[in-house]
């Protein structure tokens, strides 16, 4: 029995209560525990990566109850990739946070660990009600992290964030109910074999349930028109939290990939490729609106938020094409945009802290400490975020363009993708020029950096290095991602891994 699969869930689930009980009053101890846990998570994710890299799908039947009756965890290339990304991002973000922001409120580290538990659980579970539970775990932890440190604007945004997500959770349950009411199962693999057999008269319930569930995932993924929560949330969340949230939108994207290829994909009979006609237009609008927001942004945090929306649009365009090639491109872009989005928030925060009174507003203000360093970091991050060469954003963009070539409407997709890139370039250029160039001509000085921020800079450096790494190793990476995408599309393999190889012939029920 291989228990490593559940370690990404159990480890933070144990670490958080330990932090609560043992390290509640000792911030140093809490930091050590928290970092240790994150490093261990990274190690586990790497180990799992090697485990699944030869293409096997490992399952874990909780409570030793055979699926579909018990809950099952599934580690395949895709889920492990997400775990790895989460662990890497978490470690960088944590480094940034322990430079001081973790002390602005209570229980940062415990909430952080719980958040990781929720995210990892969402990536691993093969049961869509259990997915709901993990969504709630990651959401409620995110509520806490979102308002960490308090403040008028932040708590206000917090209320909005919570309210929207509670509506999302409500919708999730309704959708799950509709699907269960006709499919009679909660296991994703089992659902996949039942969907094509569902009676014509039940299709309306099934499909509207499935599409409402898609809407829920799209709320998480910040797709227009259910993206409204994102700008306020990200712009007002503490920087490390906003950076960590870069993975939260990907949870939504992951769920779309997982469920709508597995259960509503090629083999779903009349419900085949159910998500595609809805997803693609929405994703294109999201892309345009996001990058328009980048151009319109008045604060750096706002710019980063809209860049995240835009990148989600781009990502979901690639997903919505629902081909192995487009999925591979989407996964590459997913890795890239998570790192690029996260680092922008961290940079925005360092800038903001150095300009008391002006914060991250795109206004001209006197020079501040470490201007050149941050300008350099911003320049690189902007290159990544706008998809300029030579960083990973460019390769991601090329991959998506390449994958969109065979779609129904390549001209539209291409022109939108490229035009929005231009919007992003202009927007980022404007921001950088105002914040870092214009300000050098301004008389006066802001006080020196308030505290040591070596770790913050290391965190930023790590994330940027991640983008560089994605670029340098784009070859082997895309090969791996191609295999990952193939595996996701090879739904029989998944179903057999979960339910055994007899189900496809005879079936359990």
């Amino acid at each position: 029995m291989n228990h490593w699969i559940i370690a990404p869930i159990v480890l933070p689930a144990i670490m958080a209560p330990i932090l609560l009980m043992a390290a509640r009053h000792d911030v140093v101890l809490a930091r050590i525990f928290s970092i240790a846990s994150s490093v261990a998570l990274l190690g586990i994710a790497l180990a799992l990566t090697t485990m699944v890299s030869d293409g096997i799908i490992v399952t874990y039947a909780l409570g030793n109850w055979i699926p579909p009756f018990g809950i099952v965890l599934v580690a395949d290339r895709l889920s492990v990739l997400m775990l790895l990304l989460t662990a890497g991002l978490a470690l960088a973000v944590l480094l940034f946070a322990i430079d001081g922001s973790d002390r602005q409120g209570r229980h940062f580290h415990a909430l952080f660990q719980f958040q990781l538990m929720g995210i990892n659980g969402a990536f691993l579970t093969g049961d869509f009600f259990n997915l709901f539970v993990f969504f709630e775990v990651l959401l409620i932890a995110s509520y806490g992290l979102m308002v960490h440190g308090g403040g008028a604007a932040r708590t206000r945004a917090g209320v909005q964030y919570v309210a929207i997500n509670l509506v999302g959770s409500t919708l999730f349950l309704i959708a799950v109910g509709m699907i269960y009411s006709v499919a009679g199962t909660l296991n994703m693999a089992d659902l996949a074999i039942r969907v094509p057999k569902i009676a014509a008269g039940d299709q309306a319930l099934l499909q509207s349930g499935a599409l409402l569930l898609l809407l829920v995932f799209c709320i998480k993924a910040a797709l227009v028109p259910v993206h409204f929560w994102l700008p306020g949330t990200y712009a007002n969340a503490p920087a490390p939290v906003a950076a960590l949230f870069a993975i939260m939108t990907k949870v939504g994207a992951y769920c779309v990939i997982r469920l709508y290829i597995l259960a509503f994909g090629a083999d779903a009979g009349v419900a085949s490729w159910l998500a595609a006609p809805w997803l693609l237009p929405a994703a294109l609008v999201t892309l345009v609106l996001g990058m328009t927001g980048v151009l319109a942004a008045r604060r750096l945090g706002q710019l980063a938020s809209f860049a995240v929306i835009g990148s989600m649009g781009m990502l979901l365009v690639a997903i919505a094409l629902f081909t192995p090639a487009s999925l591979s491109a989407a996964l590459y872009y997913l890795l890239h945009s998570t790192l690029a989005g996260a680092v922008l928030f961290l940079i925005a925060d360092l800038v903001s802290r150095r300009r008391p009174g002006q914060d991250d507003a795109m206004t001209v203000a006197p020079r501040f400490a470490q201007l050149s360093l941050l300008a350099g970091a911003f320049f690189i991050a902007a290159i990544a975020a706008t998809g300029m060469p030579p960083l990973s954003g460019f390769i991601g963009k090329l991959l998506i363009l390449d994958a969109a070539r065979d779609s129904a409407n390549p001209a539209l997709i291409w022109s939108l993708l490229l035009l929005t890139s231009l919007l992003a370039i202009i927007g980022f250029g404007r921001a950088g020029s105002t914040l870092f160039w214009k300000s050098t001509g301004e008389p006066g000085h802001f006080p020196a950096a308030p505290e040591s921020n070596t770790l913050s800079l290391v965190a930023i450096g790590l994330l940027l290095a991640g983008s560089v790494g994605l670029t340098l190793f784009a070859g082997p990476l895309t090969a791996y991602l191609d295999a990952t995408a193939e595996q996701v599309f090879a739904t029989r393999q998944y179903i057999e891994a979960v339910l055994g190889n007899t189900v496809l012939e005879g079936g359990i029920l």
């Binding site: 206000r156 919570v162 509670l166």
Partner: protein, 113 residues
């Protein structure tokens, strides 16, 4: 019976939606509470309506209702309880911070959407 339950779910949903679209945090909280009743009943109803056949194994029982939706609803009730508690306290904190319980934190405002 099915109609009564369905219409009740519909009404609770409508009332909940109407309230979450109000401008103050308190009605939003109430609306969310109504919505969670609606969803819990809805999820419960996926097990279909069955009289006096509780899923407790007994020699005397003449049948059982679907236990799974009940377990799911239980989980959902607990989770929505936690969520309600959080949004109530968050609304309170926001009120203390902003001096207003407007959902957008404004001290005086009309509709803004």
């Amino acid at each position: 019976m099915e109609f009564l339950l369905s219409s009740a779910i519909g009404l609770l949903t409508a009332a909940g939606v109407y309230l979450i679209l109000r401008a103050r945090t308190y009605p939003v909280v109430l609306g969310l509470a109504l919505l969670s009743y609606a969803t819990n009943l809805f999820l419960f109803a996926t097990g279909r309506l069955v009289l006096d056949r509780p899923p407790v194994i007994s020699a005397l029982a003449n049948g059982y209702t679907d236990p799974l939706p009940q377990a799911l609803v239980l989980t959902a009730i607990v989770i929505s309880f936690g969520m309600t508690a959080v949004i109530v306290v968050m609304a309170l904190r926001s009120y203390l911070e902003n001096g207003s319980d407007h959902v957008d934190g404004e001290t005086h405002s009309e509709d803004r959407s």
